[in-house]
């Protein structure tokens, strides 16, 4: 007798004081002070609750978290290779579908969440992530974006911004800007070619209630969902570890990061600034951009301006032109 598979319906959180007290990502890890990815992990785990299985591709949230005998996960967690988070998550979801259907497991389908870094999401992990989205597994893929291969010593990834000084893109007389390429756009990659996907959103550690509600919405839809979460990295971006939230907010205020949801083909924007600050305000706080010249900053500004006007990221209010260069 086949048993129908039910998924849970997590209520949305109205205010920060309504956030559950229970922690499922607990102390005991070894991340750096001010770590954005660790903070977002804590919020994601809180939002998802106890009926959750995490898949952790290799990356900071594996290497700095999952030490034998003191992992911080109070829910089931499994390491995956950096290459295959989406595939392993697909397998866990498929197993639960059949095991519940056959009556071998009781209860609702657990939240299957793949927590991958930017490399594990849209670089070496792109194929597995895309296939999970294509096949329609009822699972959530989160790209926690610290904009570099950080645990290996800050190397460039496809989401590392233009002009970043990383250990693979050091600035020098021949290549003065360091990184010459502009980044991939993970949520647009997912939205652009995966008809099974129900829900895609971007989030930031600067807005925890918004982040947690996006996690819950993503888990409540039946089918694949993708979250792109901005998670500043004090070590990689070279800023003081007390400024993680300030940097994350500035990214949104300058248009370097946008908060939006995509559901049923519709975009909705959150915490959109009335007027964008120049990207310089964001760049100047971070050592990774310290070497940039005025021309490089102008190039970055032009990229952001174009992105804010680009199709697929409609802006409901008029964008004020960036302030003139000083």
């Amino acid at each position: 007798m086949a048993v129908a598979v039910k998924t849970q319906n997590l209520p949305l959180i109205k205010k920060i004081r309504n956030i559950p007290k229970e922690e499922y990502y607990v102390p005991g890890h070894r991340t750096c002070a001010g770590c954005g990815p660790a903070l977002q992990y804590k919020l994601v785990a809180k939002a998802a609750g106890p009926n959750t299985v995490f898949l952790g591709p290799t990356g900071c949230m594996y290497v700095a978290n999952a030490s034998y005998l003191c992992t911080p996960y109070a829910v089931p967690w499994m390491h995956t290779q950096i290459t295959n988070g989406g595939a392993v998550a697909s397998g866990v979801e498929a197993a639960y579908q059949v095991l519940i259907r056959k009556g071998k497991r009781e209860g609702e389908l657990p939240n299957v969440i793949c927590m991958a870094g930017d490399g594990g999401s849209v670089d070496i992990g792109l194929q597995a992530m895309s296939a999970m989205m294509y096949r329609g597994h009822d699972a959530l893929f989160i790209c926690y974006d610290n904009e570099a291969y950080a645990n290996t010593g800050i190397q460039t990834s496809p989401t590392t911004p233009y002009g970043s000084n990383t250990t693979f893109t050091p600035p020098g007389p021949v290549i003065p800007e360091g990184k010459k390429l502009f980044p991939k756009d993970p949520p647009q990659l997912v939205i652009g070619g995966h008809p099974a996907v129900k829900y895609v959103a971007t989030a930031s550690v600067a807005f925890p209630v918004d982040l947690m509600n996006k996690v819950r919405k993503a888990l409540n839809v039946q089918g694949p969902a993708f979250l792109h979460i901005h998670a500043p990295c004090p070590k990689g971006w070279k800023f003081n570890e007390s400024k993680t939230i300030e940097i994350a907010k500035l990214a949104i205020q300058t248009g370097m990061w946008n908060l939006y949801e995509w559901e049923n083909g519709e975009y909705k924007y959150q915490h959109k600034p009335k007027e964008y600050k120049p990207v310089r305000e964001y760049l100047k706080l971070q050592g990774r951009f310290a070497h940039l010249s005025e021309a490089h900053i102008a190039k970055q500004q032009a990229f952001v301006d174009a992105k804010l006007k680009a199709p697929g990221i409609p802006v409901a209010i008029p964008i004020s032109p960036p302030r003139a260069e000083a």
């Binding site: 106890p50 999952a66 967690w77 595939a87 866990v92 498929a94 059949v98 597995a128 096949r135």
Partner: protein
Amino acid sequence: MAKEMELSGCAASAQAARMAKVEVICSYPIRPYTALMMELAKMVANGELDAEFVYGEGEHAQLSVVAGASAAGARVLTGSSGVGVTYAFETYSPIAGGRLPVQMMIADRALDPPGDFGSEHTDAMSCRDQGWLMGWAENPQEAFDNSLINYRIGEDHRVLLPQYVCQDGYFVSHIPGKVVLPEQSQVDEFLPPYTLPHPLDPKHPVSHGPQIRPDQGTVMDLQRAQAMLDAPAVIQEAIGDFNRIFGRNYSPFVEEYMTDDAEMAFFIMGAHTMTARHAVKHLRSQGVKIGLVKLRFLRPWPTQEVAEALSKFRAVGVVETSTSYGGAMRGGNLLHEVRASLYDVPQRPLTTSFMAGLGGEMVPLKEFYYMAEVLAKMIKDGKASKTVYWVGFEAEA
């Protein structure tokens, strides 16, 4: 009632998966193994098998999907051939080290270059040292049986290791042979439901595969090695039960054919064993005292059984269907292990190897007759003048 059918190796493996009630399957097309997935896809579509059939986006994903499903508590099957087997290489150690009893059917295919559909064991042999159980089927019946036997052994909590269940591409995978399909009740008696000691279950949270310090690594390697050491006793038990329940007569590790009073023997595994049997039978009718020893498990390698089986001969010819470029024996992989197994035997036979069937070529009877000539000359000369003969490319015996 058990029924007899004509099935290819791929179709036989699919029947085994159906009767083992496999729960998660992950596919990706590559010849020749892909006929297995075509059969399974039909079974799922027809409602003969209640399983999740996941379209992998490549072999690496195939292994990753079934790893996740196995860790969540489902019985799983995947498979591949040739460069597909090597494409998934990264996943083999994490699966074995994670002690996930994944089953992978390999229908051998030569590796590139150039593109070659033929069967050669190099694909699977390249992956042999990762902690997977491993052995070859000679015919579709054995492909069917080995699938059930390997689930039973791999899922045993004393072992908990993944399994490469190998069959030669085309020679076994696509040529129909007689297969006796047992009753479901026989399979259920032989193969208990799959359980994992610590599955991914929110009711009992566990962490799989955390980071370790270098000083914790040896212990884990030792445990994986110990599982291989513990496997033979479980294999013996499983083969005993299999023979009793299904009325078969398998030896667990090595099978002998016409070895009574034999002076020399072929040491072989897989599809070409069938031709070798005919060659031995013919040579016996000519008065040549030759026999045959067939290997059923390459991993764990049955050191003692190989030594006992081979030490009674004066000369042994190892038939290699894989390459080990630059290896100590200058040929394939098997002679290394055969010679290592015989090292402590006081009366060692003379040994050499024959590169045959590479690229998926047939190994016709006349090539086995040639090998027998070489073995006879070794006995006459009292020495093996070479460790490898490339059959068909040598001037003389």
